[in-house]
């Protein structure tokens, strides 16, 4: 199947986010995909804006069945959260559980005024009453197909499709 052009999607996302930024904004990337996107778009966002990254490992809802699997660096939010507008950035939105975990973690750091969820792709597999306010493209995939944002040798972003065998 034809996978979308990641570079283009990221460019669109950057523009949409740029329109929303003000002095009250904090950009937070969900590891790893969201964080990679944030690092890429940050230089071209007009102003110097506060950022952070979130690793949701400790807030997942599947600890009992999956155990503790830590693949990422620890969460890093060094800036004030209270009263801010958080733009939460991620690459692919599926069931909504990762975003729920990310939000729970953010609230342990403080009380934001508003959270906006901005993603490149929505897989149309929502399982919770959570959905992105900004979404560049929607695609449908089967449950065993996994979409991954990858940085290739030319420092360009592309999407890779992986099939898992259940």
């Amino acid at each position: 199947m034809n996978l979308p052009n990641a570079e283009n999607l990221i460019e669109s996302l950057k523009n949409k986010i740029n329109e929303m930024i003000d002095e009250n904004t904090v950009l937070i990337g969900v590891q790893r995909g969201g964080e990679l996107i944030l690092q890429k778009i940050l230089p071209s966002l007009g102003s110097a804006v506060a950022t952070g990254s979130i690793d949701t490992s400790f807030y997942r809802d599947d600890f009992s069945s999956r155990g503790l699997k830590i693949k990422n660096k620890p969460s890093k939010i060094d800036t004030e959260i209270n009263g801010k507008h958080i733009i939460l950035i991620d690459d692919v939105f599926s069931s909504g559980r990762t975003v729920r975990a990310a939000m729970n973690e953010i609230f342990d750091y403080g009380r934001p005024d508003k959270i906006t969820l901005a993603v490149l792709i929505d897989r149309n597999e929502q399982e919770l009453p959570i959905s992105p306010q900004i979404c560049i493209e929607k695609i449908s995939l089967s449950k065993n197909q996994h979409l991954e944002l990858v940085l290739d040798e030319n420092k360009k972003f592309t999407f890779h499709l992986k099939e898992s065998h259940v």
Partner: protein, 317 residues
Amino acid sequence: MFNPQLNNKGNLNHLLSIEGLSKEKIIQILDTAESFLKIGERDVKKVPILRGKTVCNVFFENSTRTRTTFEIAAKRLSADVINLNVATSSQSKGETVLDTINNLIAMNADIFVVRHSSSGAAHFIASHVKPNIHIINAGDGNHSHPTQGLLDAFTIRKYKTNFNNLKVAIVGDILNSRVARSNIHALNILGVPEIRVIAPKTLLPDEIEKLGVHVFYDIDKGLKDADVIMMLRIQNERMDGIMLPSQEEYFKTYGLNQVRLDLAKKDAIVMHPGPMNRGVEIDSAVADSEQSVILPQVTFGIAVRMAVMAILAGQHS
């Protein structure tokens, strides 16, 4: 070979001793602890991993400080904590260890943190609990204190990065120290090339060199070029004339003062499991010096204990 700490999938089911852990398992625990370190610096010092789980501190041997760090660690994982000072209650009424444990199991705790004055107690308890209950050994007699060994290894890694080029010296009552044994095992497994023990013969266990250490009776020789100095506590009972003549003589022959510290590397770190006997095994000034990492050890201890609990509780049958 049967390892009572692992379940049949090879995952850690109990933490009873460092002996028997692979290098990979230890590194996994240290890496996990690294992740938990940041949580202590936040406003909300909690993550919900053990929410709804119960951690029971069963201390047959008293220790407020160790018990407190386990309690903090459990609470930062959002677990419910119960403290049982068995030393003062049912044990003195003649109840056996096994009966005490069986009663506690009936209360449905998920993790038991156990401290006992008898070597092998943690192994004994672990062999009698149901498969989904996890035992953490908080110290059994002179045998093992694995979380201390892990937090000491974590501390060394923090300040020295690599294990494979270090000279580590452990000074003090090795004979009666479960901390020393756990440290020796951890450092050997992690590949520290030179581990030294420094003590008078009365405080050294039999054939200690077979555990992979170099023995020194002379502290000046033993501290030369050391990267890490681990001081052990000397208990009062040892200095009553039977094992050692006096506190003064011990400090003169084996106490860590600045002069001796200067024999080690310039950037050597000084560690101590606590509580310290200032002026007995360690000079007050040295304990408070810049080379001392004794207080950070306590902070790291909480993160390491969080890591152990999270890894154990994440085992599913």
